[in-house]
Symmetry: D2
Subunit: 313 residues, 4 copies
């Protein structure tokens, strides 16, 4: 059967746009659950290993997640230089925590995820992702709404990482891509701290979300810098936005960064080093222009509505 030779019999179809579908052949369904917040699959795919899928949106897979999680975590950590306390908002797979915990300077990590059932499934089925990060005594996982959590703490954090699912309508995350949420994050960020947001695709047909997130963040933080990584199972490169009270040098010296990583981390990075960081921070012209020209700001009254639709009513 074709399935054996060149394709699969089960396919997970993700609509990148209404006219572009990225379909991954599924060789095995490891877990399926309709949680209180979303519909979850953990599947094994033909080429890129095991994947987590929430509300029909590909979250990450073992075969290329390092292209997402390393860029999400390390630039903020590097620019801080010696992060001790790190707050992760979202991050169910445990891979964001895994990268944070590579830093020997880190003393305390709190990870807030709204969906305990997803976290449990990832613990059980995606050990390649978390690599036992959940067992590290420095990590504390709290099942809670990130928006509420930020109101209940006065603790200050060196690095805050917003690792949320895309802001699709009826999904659990769209309120967390707004000015109000970013202001709550700023309140608990240490003065020397860095706040980083996973910030959507940077392909020409879908730049609006990223550009508006960047614009929204400029109303909250004095320094806002976009960067991107060549993720592949998302079907296009992914954007991140780093913000701080501190200046962000887009032309850092690669050799200095390599030295910092060697001194302060336990190693193991696959894609990110000094050269890679220099590359990621220097974006193509059209992307910088789209960000610079954007005027609209996301608020709770006018939140983003990313293409797609979740299962929350």
């Amino acid at each position: 059967m074709p399935g054996s030779d060149v394709g699969a019999d089960f396919w997970m179809n993700e609509y990148i746009t209404p006219w572009d579908i990225y379909a991954h052949g599924v060789t095995k369904v490891l877990a399926y659950q309709k949680t209180a917040y979303q519909e979850m699959y953990v599947v094994e795919t033909g080429t890129y290993g095991k994947a987590l899928v929430l509300d029909g949106k590909w979250q990450s897979c073992t075969g290329d997640e390092f292209l997402y999680h390393e860029p999400l975590v390390h630039p903020a950590m590097i620019f801080h230089g010696s992060p001790r306390k790190v707050l992760i908002l979202g991050g169910g797979e445990g891979a964001t925590a895994r990268e944070v915990l590579r830093w020997q300077t880190v003393e305390k990590v709190v990870m807030i995820d709204i969906d305990g059932e997803v976290v449990e499934a990832c613990k059980q089925h995606l050990s390649e992702m978390h690599q036992n990060a959940f067992d590290d005594p420095r990590l504390n996982v709290v099942i809670a709404d990130a928006l509420n959590f930020l109101d209940t703490t006065d603790e200050k954090w060196d690095v805050i990482i917003s690792d949320l699912s895309d802001p699709i309508e009826s999904g659990p995350s769209f309120q967390l891509f707004t000015k109000e949420y970013f202001e709550k994050a700023r309140r608990v960020l240490a003065p020397q701290g860095f706040f980083v947001v996973q910030a959507g695709p940077v392909s020409p047909g879908e730049l609006v979300l990223h550009a508006r997130l960047a614009k929204t963040l400029t109303t909250v933080f004095p320094n806002v810098q976009s960067y991107s990584s060549p993720t592949c199972t998302y079907g296009r490169a992914w954007g991140f936005i780093l913000t701080s009270e501190q200046e962000i040098n887009t032309r850092p010296n690669p050799e200095n960064i390599d030295q910092l990583l060697q001194e302060k981390t336990s190693g193991g990075l696959r894609m990110l080093d000094g050269v890679a960081l220099l590359g990621m921070l220097n974006l193509p012209l059209h992307l910088r222009q789209a960000i610079a020209q954007e005027t609209q700001v996301y608020t709770l009254a006018e939140p983003p509505k990313f293409f797609g639709q979740g299962s929350v009513k």
Copy 2:
């Protein structure tokens, strides 16, 4: 019908790997032809404009081709600084010529494409791509086999651009991704010249082709530098390899480049400027490692066999 609201009724499915399909909804078929060398479609898609498809492989589309053609052309031109004579091997859409002709220093461009029927179809249906480049008196289009052409000329070229379709089995191009072909190109490259090759995807699951092309080129040129661009309708980032007798500075000063482009080109670049070039040249660690560790060289006896299969017998 679903077609009207969220999708299309006709889809062009490209197998990225045997288990990953990128499907583009086709709203109109502008041209179809079984040429002497390959099967050609020119189609209109829902999100990314008009596309050229050869032997079932997406070549380029109007909506994001600038992410391919600008990186293909300008780094070589910039590093040369004042290119006068440029040779394009392949490049049927005319978009590579379009970018070359932006340089006011350019006096002569020869474009060698094997498939005159494809060139004609592009002239007629893809004016957004060529933007009348074919009418520029500096351009001479020759319908011929690139491999043969290189043997019949002793002219020297400042920049040679290898803009060929992927080296799929039975396709018309696989022989042009070999040491022997690269040596023929070197023979007609001016001493100060630069030779650049479109060099396949740089996604983790498909790095072998790019890495072996880089290794193969190191057996022919003293300086070989990979770089990549965040193409999106290919479903992943694309790689290029720049080679020369001259050194290639991977940390050029962006402001100097912007000044050069302003002085020597007629402008109009959308994605490439000094900052973008700095970004593209500084690759992720895993990609540099894969290139450095590769040992195999492509030859006519052992050419590449990229995933896919053409129609040439």
Copy 3:
């Protein structure tokens, strides 16, 4: 490439239901046109020959159209016994006319189709379908709205065949599946005449359309008989409804029918003979029950809305 070995690169996807897609690999696009009424493709497929596609709905293809057109035409002709004048409403491909013209008793055929551009494309690209029926002097093709045509004639017809595209919303046909339209047809049907309607799929998940059409026809004609044929490229069996002032014998003697066909037609039938007709008229129990229990009638005020959506505004 997969396309060469086991699949195609272009696919025509038809949503049978919102959760079931029948996809046909397209090897060539012979014609594409956005007509005044609908969107039309004529394509070549891998297994079943050339196909006509209107508004994303598969109409018929050369590889199995005999399973649709023979059952559509011959039962009405056979039950009449000696049809001289036949009216075809719709039937753009010319295959319905082809079957009608096999009857040597036939003196006059009028075919009313709303879309002259579709008829022209079929003439040019689908000769396997019409087999030069359009050249038969007995056939007169009128490009007009069937609904209007019926009001403008007082001529009486021995057999009237309603060969219309499915009644999808915004398509050109949904008004022609109503009590009012059927009454217009009855007015011009000869007393000994038979009226037959292509009447949608008879699969368990989609029985409503067929059952309501049958119910609607019982409000207009005293005798109404459903039957079905094992069409395959539609992805399920197809239903037809035969109606008349005359009684319809569902257990005809096959040998008598074979003799009638031999005497009165020029032969060439592939699927329909006496035995086949006996089989088609004797439907499964669940289908007869669904028809018997249906209570709703389609009217111009409440026309059918078959799954799918057309392009007419």
Copy 4:
């Protein structure tokens, strides 16, 4: 997301031919297992309920399985008239046994299935199919190879039902579609007995398997009769072949059959009654011709190789 409105995110693609795919949207994966013999999924689909999928081939689903299981079982039972002992070869879902057990004359049913893991999964997840047939004391399930079983028994059976998965290469069943196997079945068939075989699709593009099975059976039994049912989730009608030492009347009196069913069964049939049986036995001409003209016979040396490929090595 499209998944919520008109389609699914997970799809089970079945290649009907290399160029025709029937894709069913999967809303839930109930069970997945790589058994000793095949790869098994039990899934929930959007339109047609729960389905069993083996080696990528759709076996049956709750929404239309009555169109397969009733025609498979009852014609043989009806023609026998008073079956007491029934042997089922295959039939893992338990739906074939369910239909057999409707007959009050039945005293003993033995069901031989090679794959105990599939039977267990069906028991657990497909109660709509077996409807507790497994609890009926008249039924004895034996996990064994049907080919071997037939050699080890001298018991005679009134009805033998071959309900095997399609004879794909490397699947567990292809040897059971051969002259040798049919001879083994004949040895244990009572003189008044009937043997029925599920016998592949009867669509024009795939008639060879059915026609050759019919031809093969004519070398073993004096009376061989094909019939078909309008199954829909298989994407085309399905064929069966009934064989016996006894004559098979293809024009039975429907009323007599209805009376027999009323007297001897507990009722509950949805599609099959006297009228339906009359319809099923009277096949289209092209199908009868293909069967009549076939000359090739399947043997263990030259078994069928149905399109598709299993996982058995």
